[in-house]
Symmetry: C2
Subunit: 421 residues, 2 copies
């Protein structure tokens, strides 16, 4: 290994060793201690508003110099209001129920051995993110609240902002009896550190990428450490023949247009060939400002649509465009979603309960909804408080992942001298 | 890609596509259908005893020709008794509670949306194993019972036996309304198929290696698909100063000597420097036939011990050898286990409940036991019926993994027209 390669590796090994020590201490802390410390962080963020704004101004100036787009600069920007929002977010996480120590189940074996599965923190979490500096506070709070040590690797364009936010965490945690290494920020911006984190098996227990599709794709492709993420949200709404017309129109328009850039947005509308009000449904979507790209069957009924190409059915637009096509009832919808879906969130609108239940059972996605908008795909809307992300993988945790998904369990057995015959 | 490389890849893609279709069907089957089919498999295995013995005889003859060791030949060998045991195992799995469809939790949101997390099968499981043909029946039964399709890749030395067992599954499953592709056996013995399975992301959802350490190590090193496994069981028993002397001796001897070759066997004995009966404890272990390799502190008290080298503390002997050393109370034991343990199973013997609870909380292993032998680390002993394996990873499932660990969950939301404001 050349020196160039070994530096990031050594850095990650060092951060990881500190994090592992911190994790051992964090795992033993009562909920109240973590809560008090996070409330102090929230207070500290508010008190450090000026310092954080000043640090952010350095990032913004460098960003403008480097020609970042207005959208990227907006993501990077912190002002007093956004900093207050960040502090509120940390305080909200402090108010969540602590999953650590929760007993999943207990059984007494015939020999008297009492076995319980008890929730414990995962250990060391790596967060890899881009330009939004608020992720620093958000992700760190969720990890600390669930007893995990975290290694944060934010975008180089936000490094000054991230350092300022991290300084508040380090100070407030240490002042409240938590290890300062519970939250560590990768101190350098060398991109090779990302690669070293992704391959740090046994050092980092789970990686959560937070950012755009190219970041998530890179992380998923390179990681040897388990990754919690979703790549695409190619979400379907299926309007069944039995759907209430007004409800169908309201849900479809909301699912697509409430916010087009979120991962829970509808991308594809599937309409049962037997649904009696197809033109009105398409009209509602168009009136809301959505471009509708139609399949051939649909265009025979609603002629003035952009034709959908093969590619459209596999596209996550994240803007005011939807593909729409006719399918033959439930079976047609299930086949279509199995072929083109991304296992994120899919919904049916139907009055026929039997069909709806068959849809809920038959669609292999993290979230399946009946008579509700796909835009509910969100940890807060699910009552989880906040989320570290939405997962479309099949193991460990699925859908919105919050504190519980940042824990694992161990088996604890209490005996009275049992030996195995 | 050369033709040589693409053949195994294409084969795995084909097996995977068939498995995915079968999985979709399996996921929808009621528990009774799966149970009936598995009972028919058990009956079929008994009825096919002669055919299976004949197939096994071919493997045994080839194995003897190829110079397999007596131990390997014994693992490979099937006779009427072992086939009956295999059938009993399948019938026992058929009798386990089906986790599929189990509701983990349900919440009604303020807007009336009712959200439940419901257990569903993982999908497609790959099993990679060595010479024991009974794994074919055992693993296939667990996967089918939990609604998963399985791709079995057994050792080339057992291919005829595996084919005969697989034929019984295929026939009995299809005759009872299950897809024949629910259980597939890789039809060729090319070792490159293992590599293709390990990198079949999105095709195979989880790999379970069943076999020796070199197999598990290869799978863990090469896999891009999530792996459920443990590599080592370097398990500790810590005898605290407060331990009951007779209990400590009984547990230590049982943990090491009941069966030395199992992954739950004790490998390292840690004795609190303040424990009052150290020589008697070592004597009990030696009387049971165990070689004790002692650290310097222990040898100062019990002189006639083989000196333990640095390597000994990180060695899984799997035979009648134990390393043993003195530690300074609970804190010393926790540090030692953190440094040398393999996160499998560790136990404390103590009468002091406060110390014991601190040990249970502080040891970061899949299984932690108080006043019980580490040899209980076993799915059947934990009341799980049977196990697909013991996992020392931190995500998804930990410790003995049975039917529940072969499932994941999805979020099901039932609304009445809710849209997100």
């Amino acid at each position: 290994m050349t020196e160039h390669q070994s530096l990031p590796k050594n850095l990650v090994a060092d951060l990881g060793a500190r994090a592992r020590n911190a994790a051992a201490m964090l795992a033993a802390l009562p909920a109240d201690t973590k809560r008090t410390a996070l409330l102090a962080v929230a207070e500290g963020l508010r008190a450090a508003t000026a310092e954080i704004e000043a640090a952010n101004a350095l990032d913004m100036a460098r960003g403008a110099e480097n020609g970042l787009s207005p959208a990227m600069l907006d993501r990077l920007r912190l002002d007093a209001k956004r900093i207050a929002g960040m502090a509120d977010g940390v305080a909200a996480v402090a108010g969540l129920d602590d999953p650590v120590g929760r007993v999943i189940d207990t059984v007494e074996r015939p020999n008297g051995l009492v076995l319980s599965r008890v929730r414990v923190p995962i250990g060391v979490i790596g967060i890899i993110y881009e330009s939004r500096p608020n992720v620093t506070a958000d992700a760190a709070a969720l990890c600390v609240a669930s007893g995990n040590a975290v290694i944060l690797r934010g975008g180089s364009e936000a490094i000054e902002s991230n350092r300022a936010i991290h300084a508040v965490f380090a100070g407030a945690l240490a002042a409240n009896g938590l290890p300062a290494d519970a939250v560590q920020l990768v101190p350098i911006t060398d991109r090779a550190v990302v690669g070293a984190m992704l391959t740090a098996e046994g050092v980092i227990d789970m990686i959560v990428p937070r950012g755009g599709k190219s970041l998530v794709a890179r992380v998923q492709a390179e990681a040897r450490v388990p990754v919690l993420a979703h790549l695409d949200g190619i979400n379907h709404v299926f309007v069944h023949a039995s759907a209430d017309q007004a409800m169908a129109e309201a849900i479809v328009v909301n699912a697509k247009m409430r916010r087009t850039g979120v991962c829970g947005a509808m991308e594809t509308l599937l309409i049962d060939r037997a649904y009696p009000a197809i033109p009105a449904l398409i009209a509602a979507l168009k009136v809301s400002g959505c471009e509708v790209r139609g399949g051939p069957g649909l265009r025979a009924i609603v002629p003035d649509l952009v034709p959908a190409t093969d590619e459209d059915w596999d596209t996550e637009y994240l803007e005011a465009i939807a593909s729409a096509g006719l399918v033959d009832g439930l079976e047609g919808a299930l086949c279509f979603i199995a072929r083109h879906g991304s296992h994120h969130t899919d919904a049916i609108v139907a009055e026929d309960a039997e069909v709806a239940e068959a849809f809920l059972a038959g669609v292999d996605s993290a979230i399946v909804l009946w008579n509700a908008s796909t835009q509910f795909a969100d940890g807060a809307e699910f009552g989880l408080g906040a989320e570290i992300g939405i997962a479309t993988g099949r193991l460990h945790a699925r859908g919105p992942v919050a504190l519980e998904g940042l824990t694992t369990y161990k088996w604890i057995g209490r005996g009275s001298g049992q030996v195995r015959p």
